[in-house]
């Protein structure tokens, strides 16, 4: 039993006793990984089951008793969506996340293109400053920006405006870093040839750089979308009207009203989780790529 044996030739066990020895010597690994799997799955499954249990059952017995008395209902979902405002909050999450993803995607791609393929003074210094600015905490902006938005007289905090712009701005350093490093690996000859043929920078950007960089741009887009979708803090600060608040904020309010109504809280939590779960399961490859690239963030 050895680690990392996939690459080496493993002799097939010949006799029953050899097979048994191998199974037993390998079993601690299976047991430990099995336990780890349980610890990582059971809490979530428990909440999922609770979200489908009648709330009277939830109050009297634990969700694990569901094996003996399987009673399920969609009432909890209906109630949080219709009566508790999670339906509207779901739409708000969409209205906040989509522009907050597309906006930095376009702006960061453009800046990354300039930093990779357009010559201008202090280009490398500017790029290093952007690398450094990845670490600036969003908290640095809270007080000045909320104050400025309030005093500007523009309805930014009461509309999606402030939260869109803030999400877009704080996503830029990482996006520019990621995309610039990808763009610079594109073949130089291709871009020089296009220049000689008279293509403009905008033409090169649109017809060569962007189409060749779809995987990197997609990874960044997915990363940013999930970041915004899952965010609570920025929404608390920059979306200051109930009618525009996303699900993460709505859940904290629900928690204030129904601290132990687990049926409702569970249903609400799954409404927040469903979109990331679908994205994660269907686009896992891009997602992990984005994450690996994001490990420098």
């Amino acid at each position: 039993m050895t680690a990392l044996q996939d690459t080496t030739v493993k002799p097939q066990p010949r006799t029953a006793s050899e097979r048994l020895t191998r199974f037993i010597s390998g079993s601690p690994v299976h047991i430990i990984l099995g336990l780890i799997g349980l610890v990582w799955l059971v809490p979530t499954i428990g909440l999922l089951i609770t979200s489908f249990r009648p709330s009277s059952d939830m109050r009297s017995t634990g969700w694990w008793t569901v094996l003996f008395e399987p009673r399920f209902t969609l009432d909890n979902y209906q109630r949080v969506i219709e009566a508790e405002g999670m339906g509207g909050a779901f739409l708000n999450s969409v209205f906040i996340s989509v522009p907050s993803t597309l906006l930095p995607l376009v702006i960061a791609s453009m800046a990354a293109f300039a930093l990779a393929w357009v010559k201008f003074p202090f280009r490398d210094t500017i790029f290093l400053l952007i690398v450094a600015s990845m670490m600036v905490p969003v908290q640095i902006g809270f007080i000045p920006l909320v104050t400025a938005f309030r005093e500007s007289g523009l309805p930014l905090l009461e509309t999606y405006g402030a939260v869109w712009l803030a999400h877009a701005a704080y996503a830029l350093p990482f996006g520019i870093f990621l995309l610039r490093n990808f763009f610079i690996t594109l073949p130089k000859d291709l871009i020089e040839a296009a220049r000689i043929d008279g293509a403009s920078n905008w033409g090169i950007f649109r017809t060569i750089v962007v189409p060749l960089s779809v995987p990197a741009i997609a990874a960044y887009g997915i990363f940013q979308f999930l970041w915004v979708w899952n965010d609570l803090l920025m929404a608390l600060v920059y979306a200051q009207r109930n009618a525009i608040q996303p699900m993460t904020v709505a859940i904290t309010q629900l928690l204030g009203t129904y601290a132990s109504e687990w049926s409702l809280l569970a249903a609400a939590a799954f409404l927040v989780m469903i979109v990331p779960l679908v994205v994660f399961i269907s686009l896992q490859r891009y997602f992990v790529q984005g994450l690996l690239a994001g490990s420098v963030k």
């Binding site: 990582w40 969700w63 201008f120 600036v136 000045p144 712009l165 704080y170 520019i176 220049r195």
Partner: protein, 316 residues
């Protein structure tokens, strides 16, 4: 060297004076939107917040200059932020606990899972399961674990398990003695997947010859883990550790939803204090000082990243 062509409408302006490069309208056009947003949302606020941290800052305005008062109060006269003594407490101390235990547990568990997973056929599955919490909102993770920790053996899974042994119920989140450990455990649960995925990729890069040679020399699995695998992936480990430390300094959502810093103020962390002092409490100068402290804590990481990037750029 070909001349970079600016967008058509600006040809005259830049071709007139820039034969060697594309500086001018092209750079401005592509960099402009990003530059504007970064100036408004990063550069201006950084200076404003720094100035405000030396001020009372009532209503976000520069009301009275107070010098270093906010900082002095934070470090010497605010037990919610830092209380030295035995045992120490406060938001900053809790961040230290998080940095030490959350980071080391995530890295260690991540390594162990990554090494073990390479031995089994369901490697991809176990990695996906452990990674799943990374994809979902901290708000949802907080609900999941408030439910698990719920102090009743009919509802909370953990207290039901303790009930089997006639223990509990324990209010994990309700007591200052347990709350931080309970929260750190949730943080680890949420982030191990990240460490696992990154370290697993690094471990796969170790050549099997090295491992075989060690085995031939009679090393056992524990020795191989500590003497070969860990040293050989020390760079990825340090990258993961730095990322996790940054997570801790920025940690907010989980605390806000699970305990709101409570009971009392015993589970506050620095990012939570910043929000709490600035918004519900309306102490803008004080909140600004905390934001500046957060920035200062992140500056070493900034330097680390820039250095690392520079050496990489030189090697290219």
């Amino acid at each position: 060297m070909a001349v970079a062509n600016p967008p058509a409408e600006t040809t005259e302006a830049s071709s007139a004076k820039k034969p060697g490069g594309g500086f001018g309208w092209a750079a401005l056009f592509f960099m402009g939107p990003a530059g504007l947003l970064l100036l408004v949302f990063l550069v201006f606020p950084a200076f404003y917040t720094l100035a405000l941290s030396f001020n009372r800052g009532r209503g976000g305005e520069f009301s009275n200059w107070v010098g270093f008062d906010n900082y002095v109060r934070l470090f010497t006269n605010d037990p919610n932020f830092l209380r030295l003594g035995f045992p120490p407490a406060g938001a900053l101390w809790n961040n230290v606990l998080w940095i030490v235990f959350y980071t080391s547990l995530c890295v260690l568990l991540g390594l162990v899972i990554a090494v073990m997973a390479t031995r089994v056929r369901y490697e991809a599955l176990i990695k996906a399961i452990v990674f799943l919490p990374m994809a979902i909102a901290a708000t949802a993770v907080a609900i999941i674990w408030r439910f698990v920790y719920f102090p009743s053996s009919e509802t909370g899974l953990l207290n039901a398990l303790l009930g089997i042994f006639n223990l509990g119920p324990v209010a994990f989140l309700g007591s200052p003695d347990t709350v931080n450990w309970a929260l750190i455990a949730v943080g680890v649960w949420g982030s191990v997947g990240f460490a696992t995925v990154i370290l697993s990729a690094a471990i796969k890069g170790i050549s099997s010859e090295v491992l075989e040679a060690a085995r031939v020399d009679g090393a056992n699995e524990t020795q191989i883990f500590w003497r070969i695998i860990v040293p050989m992936v020390s760079l990825p480990i340090s990258v993961v550790a730095v990322t996790l430390i940054v997570n801790v300094i920025k940690l907010f959502d989980l605390i806000y939803v699970m305990t709101a810093g409570g009971p009392g103020t015993s589970s506050r962390v620095i990012a939570f204090s910043m929000y709490q002092e600035a918004f519900p409490a309306g102490q803008f100068g004080y909140g600004a000082a905390i934001a500046i402290i957060m920035l200062l804590m992140l500056i070493p990481v900034m330097i680390f990243n820039v250095r690392r990037f520079r050496t990489e750029a030189v090697q290219m």
